[in-house]
């Protein structure tokens, strides 16, 4: 599993303004990045209030939405990312 562990992650987090939900989500994703994906996680935070056209383009319905662009397959997570177990499982992150 060593090869997989080196896979780079590209995550995009779409939030709607600096609401408590957004802040919680950002914090939770950051934590995962630093704890489990240190050094190989590229994370981008997009405020769809600022870039509403992107919401349509990227098919964002709920907020916050986290999109795992890489590695494939692409996956979407919605919510404040507080259910860490579920998120990690979905992101296919090796916690060991």
């Amino acid at each position: 599993m060593t090869g997989e562990a080196k896979k780079p992650y590209v995550l995009r987090l779409y939030v709607s303004g600096m609401t408590s939900n957004s802040l919680r989500a950002i914090e939770n994703v950051r934590k995962i990045c630093s704890e489990f994906l240190a050094g190989r996680c590229h994370m981008e935070i997009i405020d769809i209030y600022q870039q509403p056209a992107l919401a349509k383009e990227r098919q964002i319905v709920a907020a916050p939405t986290l999109v795992k662009e890489l590695p494939l397959p692409m996956r979407r997570f919605i919510g404040d990312m507080s259910q860490t177990e579920r998120l990690l499982q979905g992101l296919d992150v090796n916690t060991k």
Partner: protein
């Protein structure tokens, strides 16, 4: 003062409406959907929700200059564009001109993992952005219930839906939200809870293999609206609802008359024919000339330059043209001049309501002065009596509103009574012509009479009529000693009477001659008698003359004798010769 103020505020609060531009819907709703509020359109699959929503936007964009946002949860924008191109809506063009914004919201549950609390801000932002970009006044959300299949947290969803509707109101857009019909509720997920202002329900019912689309306004807060189920049609021109039962009986009645096209039939109706804008029913058994009577009417109208629409449910256009040519009516010339148009269809093609709707559309389009429905009874076969009556009353009301004269033919069974017709439609009709086959002496003849004709003095006689090369020819009422006679019996009776009359007149002639002769004889006799009398009189005169001569001679001789005898007394008595008779004696 206080009361006045209250009144003013009440006027201000009157619900504003937004014209949909959809045929008929604005009439039923009394001016459109509630402006600035969401309207729920619900119904089963394939009942026309999407079309209604899209047409609302397209009409708004084109006719009312109100841009619209279409948010689709089911069909992709490209699919929508293709689908609506077949209805003549060029969505791409509208999008290019910023009159329309399409947004396809893709929700796939399998792709989404829920990891905590969320809201639907993404949707709100997209919608808000689209509305602001083109300055939309109208919004359609089709079908928002898809959200329920995409997200599992119903508590969040319901809260978000509530927020969505207030968001729409806040934006001041008139919105249509569609929803799938539920088993016991109007929508599967109870959207009606959130949309309290106006709910429209669409159905697509099939009865006896014939499908009919219907629309009903379940509720419309703060507004009067038609409550019935209205049939609607989806065709090349989109959506059309026919508000056909909302009409009252307040149409104006015309005093103008239109010729029936058969001069002697006009005569039976005060010499003027039907009333303009009235409805005429021509009933009869098969083959008794109903279509011919109709064709005459059409021909006469076209001759006056009026437009006619001919709904044929039995024969094709060419068949009618050919058949009418055989009785000397050339309808083709009017077709070529564009005065006459045929609409031929099989009654079983679609439901009664659909026929009604398509007839409405055709009438609206062609704007005729008269229409013919030939025959109305064929329509009836595909529906129950009640339906027929309701359909016809709506059709006739509509025609009367427009002042269109309608002639409907109706086929009755050869041995059936008129009762069916009477129950069904007669009360709706102003004039009822009955064509009857009179069977007697081994032949069938045609009789015509006016069973009723409202508002005019009409003949109560049964006329016999012939279908000739010059069309329908009415004959005089033939009332002989043996009653009304038709056909050969009539001819025979006429001949018989003619013979009798001839015999009688010959008799008279003879008598006349006899008298003449007698007169002559008498005259001759008189002449003969007169001749006899004249002869006698002549004899008498001659005798008198002779006598006088004789007397004279006698006197002279007596005198001579006396002179000879010298009888002086006699000479002196010469004067007494005047009385010779006394002496001579006879």
């Amino acid at each position: 003062m206080a009361r006045q103020k209250k009144n003013v505020s009440r006027i201000v609060e009157v619900l504003q409406k937004c014209l949909t531009g959809i045929k008929g819907l604005d009439e039923i709703t009394g001016g459109g959907l509630p402006k600035g509020r969401p309207t729920l359109v619900c119904g089963g699959a394939g009942c026309g929700k999407t079309l209604l929503a899209m047409e609302f936007l397209v009409r708004g964009a084109i006719e009312h200059n109100e841009p619209g946002v279409y948010m689709s949860f089911e069909e992709k924008s490209e699919e929508l564009t293709t689908n609506f191109a077949s209805l003549g809506f060029d969505l791409n063009d509208l999008v290019d001109h910023k009159k329309l914004a399409l947004d396809y919201v893709h929700i796939e549950r399998g792709e989404i993992e829920e990891t905590g609390v969320y809201n639907l801000d993404g949707l709100f932002i997209r919608l808000g952005y689209a509305i602001d970009t083109i300055g939309a006044k109208r919004v359609a959300l089709d079908t928002i219930e898809m959200l329920f299949s995409g997200f599992s947290n119903e508590v969040i969803l319901r809260a978000e839906l509530k927020r969505l509707f207030s968001f729409l109101k806040e934006k001041g857009v008139t919105a249509i939200v569609t929803g799938e019909q539920g088993e016991r509720t109007l929508t599967r997920f109870g959207l009606e809870e959130y949309v309290a202002d106006c709910v429209i329900f669409l159905t697509h019912k099939v009865s006896e293999q014939i499908a009919t689309r219907r629309l009903r306004i379940v509720k419309y807060r703060g507004s009067v609206h038609g409550t019935n189920e209205y049939p609607f049609l989806i065709d090349e021109q989109g959506f059309s609802v026919m508000p056909i039962s909302s009409l009252g009986l307040d149409h104006s009645a015309s005093n103008k008359r239109v010729s029936t096209g058969i001069p002697r039939l006009d005569t039976m109706m005060e010499g003027k024919g039907y009333f303009q804008g009235s409805s005429i029913l021509v009933t009869g058994t098969s083959g008794c000339g109903k279509s011919s009577v109709a064709a005459h009417f059409v021909d006469a109208a076209c001759r006056r330059g009026e437009r006619c629409l001919y709904f044929a449910f039995e024969e094709s256009r060419t068949q009618i043209l050919r058949n009418m040519r055989s009785i000397g009516i050339d309808l083709e010339q009017w077709v070529k001049k564009g005065l006459l148009e045929f609409r031929n269809s099989r009654p079983t093609l679609c439901g009664l309501e659909m026929h009604l709707v398509s007839m409405h559309k055709a009438i609206e389009l062609f704007n005729p002065a008269i229409i013919v429905i030939d025959p109305i009874s064929n329509l009836v076969t595909s529906a129950s009596e009640n339906e027929v009556k309701s359909m016809l009353s709506r059709l006739i009301d509509f025609l009367k509103m427009k002042g269109i004269t309608a002639l409907c033919t109706d086929l009755t069974a050869a041995n059936g009574s008129l009762e069916r017709t009477e129950i069904g439609i007669s009360s709706l009709m102003d004039t009822w012509l009955l064509l009857q086959a009179i069977e007697a002496n081994g032949e069938r003849n045609r009789g015509l009479y006016i069973l009723k004709s409202r508002g005019m003095e009409h003949s109560n006689q049964i006329r016999e009529f012939y279908l000739t090369g010059n069309g329908v020819q009415l004959r005089d009422v033939y009332v002989g000693l043996a009653g009304v006679l038709t056909g050969a019996a009539r001819i025979a009776q006429v001949a018989r009477e003619k013979a009798e009359k001839l015999a009688r007149s010959q008799d008279l002639e003879l008598k006349k001659l006899d008298i003449e002769r007698k007169k002559a004889v008498i005259a001759a006799q008189i002449a003969a008698l007169r001749t006899g009398l004249d002869a006698e009189k002549e004899d008498l005169d001659r005798a008198i003359a002779r006598e006088n001569l004789y007397q004279k001679v006698l006197d002279e001789e007596t005198l001579a004798m006396a002179q000879t005898r010298r009888a002086d007394d006699l000479v002196s008595k010469k004067k007494s010769v005047a009385k010779p008779g006394k002496r001579g004696g006879k």
